[in-house]
């Protein structure tokens, strides 16, 4: 494979395009609403009406407005159809000949779509994730070529540093610095890992990226491997995402066949292979040291850092771990330049961020907006606010490690620093909207139960602390708790946060702390004031260990 071959594939693919393209969403959300059958009927309808020469039916990745799936778009008519059934196929196909259809129309010009800015999702909904040629036609693997043939590894690292890209997994560590650290270690075995263990309940960005555009992640990993000097990569993906796994397997196979993975890529001395590792349902494995244990086939328990994976990671070798979305940004940065990327977003948070909008909101689905976009624009203008005339009470970001942002802070720009100031985190990008029917103490207990179940048991503060906090929250919800119990809960939050071994325990109190900060009255209303003795000590002993 040389650049001419790549261009030829792209040309051939573009030349094979027909006058009309009917794009049918084949991501997990729409698939579960039967989009597979819709696509088959569309193909049949095209054949039956003899339009083969004129119309292409393409299965594509996520088209974002998941709540209205299955989604079908007819180009160039710019007509979006929602909740399409297999029976609708004939009339949708008929529209290319000027026919009419009664299928529910969506508005591609609504704020939900027009306010988005796509980098990571630019191919999502356009390329066929099961055909590498479709990705190549969208300038795919060009960045990898340029990197291998025209740039030194150091130049690549510098470009990423210059772009200001920060880790999209949640903590926001500067990606270029991480790459630089791994690159500086002595030559020898090094690894690149893609963290696709998207365990946060309520987050589905990584799943969508893997299902919609798996090659962009592979290309990003290959560029990273060249920059740091690694020859082997792993993608650690959740077993709960069977479609993403199968699309990745297909993508890896096709990339190998095309010579874009394997030995001597683009006739350079660079070799790179990627293997999949399937998780087995452990939230803690999203933590990088636990993830590496799991890749090694062991129990996924974390270990103290330092040493950081960049120095001593998988099998003791220097290891670069980045999130799916981080890798998906890389090829675009190389192609369009660091300056272009750095011009998007805020001073400290560059580029865009993909969010998964869900919960009590009209438009659930995927959105990609520049960093610094105010929450209000995301959830009200784009998300359409709470459904059925409800009002938004809070927005939860960052999953079990994050916090609830109250409605009166909706004008906060969403970037790493602003969210941290509100006691939440960017997290991987799940955004759960809650309306006035949601009880915040209930939400706090929901997350605490999650952390309690998912605690790996290695360190005591997390293992025992989460159980105690859960019981205190249950006691509050049962209206049996006193002011002393609330104080005890706050003390425990402080202790677990400061003494736990890994991120799971350190952030487990966040949902409690943030709801206490903004919705303290809800806790106070639930307290049993009569049980409080005058000296402020609880009469009832702390909840006994019942679990």
């Amino acid at each position: 494979m040389i650049i001419d071959d790549l261009n030829e594939i792209a040309e051939k693919e573009r030349a094979s395009r027909k006058k009309f393209t009917i794009r049918c969403c084949m991501a997990a959300g729409c698939m579960s609403s039967n989009s597979d059958a819709v696509k088959k009927s569309l193909e049949k309808a095209v054949k039956d009406s003899g339009l083969d020469e004129l119309v292409e039916v393409r299965g594509v990745g996520c088209m974002r407005l998941c709540c209205q799936g299955p989604l079908v778009q007819v180009d160039p008519n710019d007509a979006l159809y929602e909740r399409v059934t297999p029976e609708d196929a004939a009339s949708v196909v008929g529209t290319v000949k000027g026919g009419q259809t009664t299928v529910q129309r969506g508005d591609p010009q609504s704020a939900f779509f027009t306010k988005q800015l796509s980098i990571v999702l630019s191919n999502s909904g356009y390329v066929d994730p099961e055909r590498i040629d479709s990705y190549i036609a969208a300038e795919g693997y060009k960045a990898l070529h340029d990197v291998l043939r025209e740039m030194t590894p150091k130049e690549v690292v510098d470009e990423i540093i210059k772009s200001g890209l920060r880790g999209r997994g949640g903590a926001g560590f500067p990606t270029g610095l991480k790459w630089g650290t791994v690159a500086k270690t002595e030559d020898g075995h090094k690894y690149v890992i893609c963290n696709a263990d998207e365990g946060d309940p309520g987050a589905f960005m990584d799943r969508s990226v893997l299902e919609s555009d798996p090659h962009s992640v592979l290309e990003g990993m290959a560029i990273a491997a060249y920059a740091v000097g690694a020859a082997q990569g792993f993608i650690y993906v959740r077993a709960e995402y069977p479609l993403a796994i199968s699309r990745l397997q297909t993508a890896i196979k096709q990339a190998k066949e095309r010579g874009l993975l394997g030995s001597g890529i683009f006739e350079s001395p660079f070799n790179f292979n990627v293997d999949l590792r399937i998780g087995a349902g452990a939230f803690v494995c999203g933590e990088e040291t636990a993830l590496m244990m799991s890749v090694e086939g062991k129990r996924g328990t974390p270990r103290p850092r330092p040493p950081f994976p960049a120095e001593s990671g998988l099998w003791g070798c220097p290891t670069l771990i980045n999130n799916v979305e981080t890798f998906a940004n890389v090829a675009a940065i190389i192609r369009k330049g660091a300056d272009w990327f750095a011009s998007i977003g805020t001073e400290k948070s560059k580029g865009t961020k993909v969010f998964a909008l869900a919960g009590n909101i009209t438009n659930t689905g995927l959105i990609e907006v520049p960093m610094g976009t105010p929450l209000r624009q995301t959830v009200e203008t784009m998300g359409g606010g709470a459904p059925d005339g409800g009002t938004i009470k809070a927005v939860q970001t960052g999953g079990p490690s994050g916090g609830c942002i109250p409605a009166d802070s909706l004008d906060t720009p969403v970037d790493y620093e602003s969210l941290a100031k509100l006691g939440s985190i960017m997290g991987s990008g799940g955004m759960i909207v809650m309306d006035e029917t949601t009880r915040m103490v209930d939400v706090a207990r929901f997350f605490m139960e999650f952390c309690m179940d998912e605690s790996c048991g290695k360190c005591v503060p997390c293992r025992a602390g989460t159980v105690q906090m859960y019981q205190l929250l249950s006691k509050i919800l049962a209206r049996k708790a006193t002011a002393a119990d609330l104080r005890r809960l706050e003390e425990l939050c402080d202790m677990v946060r400061n003494t736990s071994l890994c991120g799971l325990g350190q952030t487990a109190p966040n949902p409690v702390l943030s709801t206490l900060r903004f919705f303290r009255h809800e806790y106070l209303e639930l307290l049993n004031k009569e049980a409080d003795s005058p000296n402020g000590e609880a009469k009832a002993p702390a909840a006994a260990a019942g679990k």
């Binding site: 997990a28 959300g29 698939m31 579960s32 609403s33 998941c66 709540c67 799936g69 998207e198 365990g199 946060d200 309940p201 309520g202 987050a203 589905f204 799943r207 959740r238 077993a239 709960e240 995402y241 590792r277 399937i278 998780g279 087995a280 349902g281 452990a282 939230f283 799991s294 890749v295 090694e296 086939g297 062991k298 129990r299 996924g300 998964a356 869900a358 919960g359 009590n360 659930t364 689905g365 995927l366 939860q396 999953g399 799940g430 759960i432 809650m434 949601t438 939400v443 929901f446 997350f447 999650f450 179940d453 998912e454 790996c456």
Partner: protein, 177 residues
């Protein structure tokens, strides 16, 4: 003490291997281990395959894997019990997995679960006595856009309510409940 325990293990192995030789599934499993060159880091992959073939991971199966991969049985058992995805008990004929991710939760997945629990007379994580239905929960299947989602026998189904869920599992629940 130390001398006796390996002896016990030794005595069970020939039996397991003899049993395995008559079961095609063990051959498939062994071929899968071979594909991974019997590497220790492939343990989780091998357990996935074993569960896919057998439905659940019983003790003898774990001992077989330990023997073939040359790993201590404690390590295999430790890994199998650490991850939620692996089950050491047989599942029912049908499975109903209620997603309890945040998005599904705020949209009423707890009510869906309670309805099925009440109807089937079992708690989440249990199987009905007639072995027809296993009721499970998931920590987010990533289908938040269509919450609340329930997975019936591997098929993700969108926007469930207590009523639609009961309608769906009706045929799987014995009439004695």
């Amino acid at each position: 003490m130390i001398a006796t325990s390996p002896k016990q293990k030794q005595s069970r192995l020939p039996e397991i291997l003899a049993h395995a030789s008559g079961d095609k599934r063990f051959k498939i499993l062994e071929a899968h281990m071979k594909k991974h060159q019997f590497k220790h880091d492939a343990l989780i992959e091998v357990l996935h395959k074993a569960q896919e073939l057998f439905g659940y991971l019983e003790d003898d199966l774990l001992l077989f894997i330990a023997y073939k991969l040359k790993l201590p049985a404690s390590r295999v058992y430790g890994v199998a019990t650490f991850y939620h995805f692996f089950t050491l008990k047989p599942k029912g004929q049908h499975t109903c997995v209620v997603c309890l991710g945040t998005a599904c939760y705020v949209r009423g997945a707890d009510k869906v679960l309670a309805a099925v629990e009440g109807k089937a007379g079992i708690k989440a994580g249990e199987t009905t006595p007639d072995n027809q239905l296993s009721l499970l929960t998931a920590r987010c299947i990533g289908a938040c856009g269509i919450a609340p989602a329930v997975v019936y026998d591997g098929t993700v189904t969108p926007r469930q309510t207590a009523e639609s869920a009961l309608e769906r599992v009706k045929g799987w629940i014995g009439h004695d409940h």
